[in-house]
Amino acid sequence: MERIPILKMGEFLLVTIQVDMHDRLALTLQDDLTAQIVKFRAHGVLIDISALEIVDSFIGRMLASIASMAHLLDAETVVVGMQPAVAITLVELGLPMKGIRTALDVEKGMIALRGAILAAEQDGDASGIR
């Protein structure tokens, strides 16, 4: 079965979406990624969508779900590399990509991810759970 590869990079997981995803493939990625977060005890996930020529409501929803699921599993998500034309179209489509952290490229994404993890840890310390 066709799958999108998930790479382990230190404490992070890196997913580079390079194919035009059909819906089933997007759902498989959701399952695979959540399993890998737990397996590697990853605290951060980078999703590189620079090769994606469109993000429609299904893919957008999939990205938002991954971010929510990862958060429940104690991992932060940053989506990187969105093409300008995709950003313009998403806003016009009316897709609320709220709650999704983005960065321009993988490098900036890593910095954002470290910041987000640090913030989450401090939150956890303050409330005494984590």
Partner: protein, 134 residues
């Protein structure tokens, strides 16, 4: 309006939605649309193709390059023989859905297009057509 070229595609499985996206991309490049306009028409087509599959139980996409005087455009029509839409006004409302989507398909596709037409009859099916001028 004159139809310059037409291509019909079946939408039966989720892979067909991907094929429709790719065919629409090809046509919009042939028309000479810029990258942002290409992305808009491909995204709108993706939403409607998924609707045809998920709500209409499958159907057809018709891709047409059209001309109207000096203007040229790309029209994509989606047709199914599914259950139809009982309340079109409601179906065009942002966030309204009978499925498990986000309810942005129809309203979003409309916003992304220059012209939008929707015909539906309960029990007979649905036909949605979008047009983007160059």
């Amino acid at each position: 309006m004159r139809v310059v070229s037409a291509e019909s595609m079946e939408i039966r499985v989720s892979d067909d939605v991907v094929l429709v996206r790719q065919a629409v991309r090809k046509k919009s490049i042939a028309l000479g649309l810029g990258l942002v306009d290409q992305t808009k028409v491909v995204t709108a087509s993706s939403e409607l193709a998924r609707n045809t599959l998920d709500y209409g139980g499958g159907g057809k996409a018709l891709l047409e390059l059209v001309e109207n005087g000096t203007r040229s455009g790309l029209r994509v029509t989606f047709e199914d023989q599914g259950p139809g839409i009982p309340d079109i006004q409601l179906a065009l409302t942002d966030g309204y859905t009978t499925g498990n989507g986000m309810g942005l398909g129809l309203s979003g596709a409309k916003r992304l297009s220059h012209e939008f037409e929707l015909w539906s009859k309960p029990g007979e099916g649905t036909r949605v057509s979008i047009l983007r001028w160059k």
